[in-house]
């Protein structure tokens, strides 16, 4: 039930945010600070989510094969690999390290 509540809130909220932008009179959200904050907020959240999902199970800090996989993904990104390849590398390296007992 909790999961459905979260899905409903996210679905309604994300839709409203999209609709708000498309329907708001120009100028409402055009203040420079608001725009800069909106550009920077995803940077903070994506960085935090990457770190949290790599180095924890959501409750405790831990280091396992995932860290090797995400490190490999980072290397792939530096080498300008396409999106799907980056994700694929992370999965394969993680599975490989885990299979070797990491």
């Amino acid at each position: 039930m909790n999961v459905w509540i979260a899905i409903a809130v996210t679905a309604v909220g994300c839709y409203l945010v999209k609709y708000l932008g498309l329907s708001a009179p120009a100028g409402v959200l055009e203040r420079p600070l608001v725009k800069r904050l909106a550009a920077l907020l995803p940077v903070a959240l994506l960085a935090a989510l990457t770190a949290q999902q790599t180095f924890s199970d959501g409750r405790h800090l831990m280091l396992d094969a995932k860290a090797a996989g995400v490190a490999a993904a980072a290397l792939a990104l530096v080498l300008r690999a396409p999106f799907l390849l980056v994700v694929g590398v992370a999965v394969i390296v993680t599975a490989g390290v885990r299979a070797l007992g990491g």
């Binding site: 509540i5 979260a6 899905i7 809130v9 996210t10 679905a11 909220g13 994300c14 839709y15 945010v17 999209k18 609709y19 708000l20 932008g21 498309l22 329907s23 708001a24 120009a26 959200l29 203040r31 600070l33 800069r36 904050l37 909106a38 550009a39 920077l40 907020l41 995803p42 940077v43 903070a44 959240l45 994506l46 960085a47 989510l49 990457t50 770190a51 949290q52 999902q53 790599t54 199970d57 959501g58 409750r59 800090l61 094969a65 995932k66 996989g69 995400v70 993904a73 980072a74 990104l77 999106f83 799907l84 980056v86 994700v87 590398v89 992370a90 999965v91 993680t94 599975a95 885990r98």
Partner: protein, 277 residues
């Protein structure tokens, strides 16, 4: 899916704006290129969501109804960790907030009637915005928006279904390393945004905040705390720039409104930063 800003419409962005008479076939090719490439990554979401313990119906409902990839992955990750549903939804909504700014810019370009906007709104995401805003006029912008939106929506939902079914067949998804797909997607979305010191500082501070608070606070809350890195860095940057400009006559008790720097270089950064939103 939706948050992949490094995928550019091939040709579309590179063409000079003077080329006003862009053939429909070129617009459709751009749109399909983006839609197919990103649409396929719905597979990663389907697998991650199923691996996180969501049912097939829940996984598909997210792709059908939320349709903005980073938010969907953030929600699923938070729920998998046992987070409170509202805390989990809050992180997803924070990530989705940038779509409002795409909508603002698209509104002027697409010029849809008020009755059409509720339908168009669902497709206002990174890719549709990137393609539509790269077109030379309203007609091609509408075409690009519609083709990208339709392609992505259909593929993203199909690959979500396939991914969720596939994860069920695989059994223990962790053994296959599929739990690394989520953070890898986030990292791939983050990397192209780390262009200036401001972005890098924000990302670094966010990581520190989440790692420090993770053992201390309830599940899901640390990610919300990390969002504070964005206003903190902006505030610090605004202070520094104003101190430099006014040569020490910094006003005390500055409110958040005062942090927007006024010099030309900041203006350029602001403009480009907005494009990467």
């Amino acid at each position: 899916m939706a948050e992949q800003t490094q995928i550019r419409p091939p040709g579309g962005a590179a063409e000079p704006p003077a080329a006003s008479a862009k053939p429909d076939s070129a617009v459709i090719r751009d749109a399909l290129g983006v839609g197919v490439a990103v649409g396929l990554s719905g597979f990663a979401f389907g697998v991650t969501s199923a691996g996180a313990g969501l049912s097939l119906l829940q996984t598909c409902a997210l792709s059908l109804l939320v349709f903005t990839g980073a938010s969907q992955l953030a929600l699923v990750g938070a729920l998998a960790a046992g987070g409170n549903p509202l805390t989990a939804a809050a992180a997803a909504l924070f990530l989705g907030a940038r779509n409002a700014f795409y909508g603002l810019r698209l509104s002027a370009v697409l010029g849809y009637r008020a009755t059409a906007k509720p339908f168009a709104a669902h497709w206002v995401i990174d890719e549709t915005s990137a393609v539509a805003l790269a077109q030379p006029d309203r007609r091609t912008a509408r075409l690009g928006f519609t083709v990208t939106g339709l392609t992505l929506y259909v593929l993203w939902n199909l690959t979500t279904l396939v991914g969720a079914l596939g994860a069920g067949a695989l059994g223990d998804t962790d053994a296959w390393g599929l739990d690394a797909a989520g953070p890898a997607v986030f990292l791939a979305l983050l990397a192209p945004k780390l262009t200036t010191t401001v972005e890098r500082l924000t990302a670094g501070l966010a990581v520190v905040l989440v790692m420090v608070t993770l053992p201390l606070l309830p599940t899901g809350v640390p990610v919300l705390i990390s969002a504070l890195a964005a206003p903190a860095v902006l505030l610090a940057q605004g202070r520094r720039e104003r101190t430099r400009e006014t040569d020490g006559t910094e006003r005390p008790g500055t409110g958040p409104d005062d942090t927007a720097p006024q010099d030309g270089s900041a203006q350029i950064r602001r403009t480009t930063g907005e494009d990467r939103a």
